[in-house]
Amino acid sequence: MVQSLRLNHSHDELHKLINPDSSTTVNQNLRRYIRKTLAIVGKDVTTEIRTKEMVSAMFVFSLLIIFIFNFTFDLRAANVQTLAPGVLWVAITFAGMLGLSRSFVLEHDKGVLEGLLLAPVDRSAIYFGKMIGNIIFISVVAIVVLPVYMIVFNQPFTHFPWLGGIVVLGVIGLSGVGTLFSAMAVHTRAREVLLPIMLFPVIIPLILAAVRLTAAVLDGLLFADVSHWLTLLVAFDVIFIAMSYMLFEYVVEE
């Protein structure tokens, strides 16, 4: 590609570059799309490993929430089961908010979002790259915090795989819609305030389903009793990621 870009191509050559034959390039385009998406994820992960700005802040914040709730509610055996699911999701959503609010800040402040938009990369690849990065960061924090939560709230570790699964499903939805809103908020002066105001009302169904599922796992309920909440959680993830995929281009472009 690097040696082939000239404006003095013959008309046919240039036409091929601009309108490649669709039958031969579908697989190539898909591979390029995935490669670019993963490059964005890799770039975000490398930056985060180096700076630890987002993950460390989210980790400390979520721990603080769990301990503060533990102290303030004086969680005795009788009310632990009632309050524990809500505390977990308050910790995850508030810590996630902290991470999401930083998601596009670096890109925006240093102008590198412009660099990405100048490249021949589908805007949805930028969205998926940023979203997958956010899922990784928030999930890592949540999975690390989960054992601490189970100790503090006196929950058996046999619940860990189920809770881990629910957490990941919840984080996918949170990141899916949060990445879109983060891209919207980053252009405003009051971005730190605007993001939670936009995001929290939208993720109410997600939090509701996640809290109910968490409660069901802690209470040892049968799957059949709560399958509708799982359906809601999965449906939220699918619908909002699809919507964000379609809207992202209009958010990042003028």
Binding site: M1, V2, Q3, L5, R6, L7, N8, L14, L17, I18, N19, R32, R35, K36, A39, G42, K43, T46, T47, R50, T51, L106, K110, G111, V112, E114, G115, L116, L117, L118, A119, P120, V121, D122, E253, E254
Partner: protein, 235 residues
């Protein structure tokens, strides 16, 4: 060839560009000048596909930018006063990342060659945040030329550079900005558009000067010698 036909751009009720008509031939180095707020950056953003005109058409070799923006992006390289680089990645990581974005083949060879040309080979594994402003701008040029674009857009690339660094930048642009084909048999002059407030430097860099005033082309030296008197008069 880049053709701007009756390009207008408004932000709300504020009209920045008014029916601008401009034809830039292949190989031209156009220095775009004018006071702050006259629409220079807006014009470059339109060509770079970062924004869309309110009215009018931009054609690149006959292709309408409105219809083929995503394909035409690979023909354009941009250097702005912002470096568009990630501070917390090394020069090598930055260029590798952008090489993937532009589908550059044999990227490691290309990156090494560019880093040598901009004099940063040897510091390729240092974080960009440890570079001076001049070094960052040189790396930014390497980033913009990574995919060897036939069109290069430079939006105030000399911002924040001292006289020596500006001179270095000019030398680098002359050395690297000329040929987009990479081999003598395909020799092809790169088309460059640059904005700057440094009139003397800008005029010395280009073979054509355009001055914008009140959102319109007030002076264009196309086909003739650049008249510094007229440039200063309309600036």
């Amino acid at each position: 060839m880049i053709e701007l036909r009756n390009i207008s751009k408004a932000f709300g009720s504020r009209i920045v560009l008014r029916k601008v008509n401009l034809t830039i031939n292949e190989g031209d180095f156009v220095t775009l000048m004018g006071p702050n707020g006259v629409g220079k950056t807006t014009l470059l953003h339109l060509i770079a596909t970062l924004s869309k005109p309110t009215a009018g058409t931009i054609l690149i070799n006959g292709y309408d930018l409105a219809d083929s923006a995503s394909q035409l992006r690979r023909f354009i390289g941009v250097v702005s006063h912002k470096t568009l680089l990630y501070d917390d990645l090394t020069a090598m990581q930055n260029l590798s990342f952008y090489a993937q974005m532009y589908d550059v083949v044999d990227s490691s060879i290309r990156i090494e060659s560019l880093l040598k040309q901009v004099g940063l080979w040897g510091r390729q594994n240092d974080l960009v945040r440890t570079y001076s402003r001049g070094m960052q701008q040189r790396l930014s040029i390497a980033r913009a030329l990574l995919h060897n674009p036939p069109i290069l857009i430079l939006d105030e690339p000399d911002t924040g550079l001292d006289q020596h660094a500006t001179q270095q930048l000019g030398d680098l642009l002359t050395e690297m900005g000329g040929d987009s084909a990479g081999s003598s048999e395909n020799s092809n002059k790169r088309t460059t558009m640059m904005t700057t407030h440094n009139l003397d430097w800008g005029v010395s860099m280009g073979n054509r000067a355009v001055v914008l005033a009140k959102g319109q082309v007030a002076y264009d030296s196309q086909g003739g010698e650049i008249s510094m008197t007229q440039v200063r008069e309309y600036y």
